[in-house]
Amino acid sequence: MIMKNNIRVERAIKNITQADLAEAVGVSRQTINTIESNKYVPSTVLALKISRVFGKPLEEVFMLEEGD
């Protein structure tokens, strides 16, 4: 199982940059970037914070997918 996310899409809908999102949840831009490209799995707290920025439930931003 791997974790995927819709952050890039949600950002486009809200029209905010990685830097804006990073500032809103209090992490570095690098962290948002690695989360978007599925290289880093955020903690539950950070995932909840990110989905709160988008005003959506967690499952609509982050989802599990079959994979290695």
Binding site: G26, V27, S28, Q30, N33, S37, P42
Partner: protein, 142 residues
């Protein structure tokens, strides 16, 4: 993010200053080639005090550099720090085991000497390297 046991960001420069400051002092001392005092107390003679002061300066510098906060300290940085620490401990013990196998017990002093800075130096190099790679991936993707 709340972190414990880390020095503030600016301390890193203090640490670099300690490390860089200790090098010319030691080199100068080596060049002057002071003879080891043969008489006097074993502990706390001039030679011992000098060695202690410079070594402590280097160690404190390394520790501060290794364990000062990043500009933006977040959970990914914490994870990278933990990762690098694990690598450093592995490497340190590999070197320790190898040197224990291949040295006679009279060289024990040298082993301890190396053992003193290997984990910290390797940790710093590894940690800086992964952060450098992280930043590079960011600039590449724009």
């Amino acid at each position: 993010m709340k972190t414990r046991f880390l020095f503030p960001y600016w301390c890193r420069y203090l640490g670099y200053a300690c490390i860089l400051g200790h090098i010319p002092v030691v080199l100068f001392h080596k060049m002057m080639d002071y003879p080891k005092p043969s008489d006097g107390p074993e502990l706390f003679n001039a030679h011992h005090l000098f060695f202690m002061a410079t070594t402590l300066l280097m160690l404190v510098g390394l520790i501060i550099v290794a364990f000062s906060k990043e500009k933006i300290e977040d959970e990914q940085i914490s994870q990278l720090r933990l990762d690098s620490l694990q690598w450093a401990v592995y490497l340190n013990y590999i070197i320790l085991v190898i040197s224990l196998i291949f040295t006679h017990n009279q060289d024990f002093w040298d082993i301890i000497h190396v053992n003193m800075w290997v984990p910290l130096v390797f940790f710093i190099i590894r940690f800086r390297w992964v952060i450098f790679r992280l930043n590079r991936s960011l600039t590449r993707e724009g």
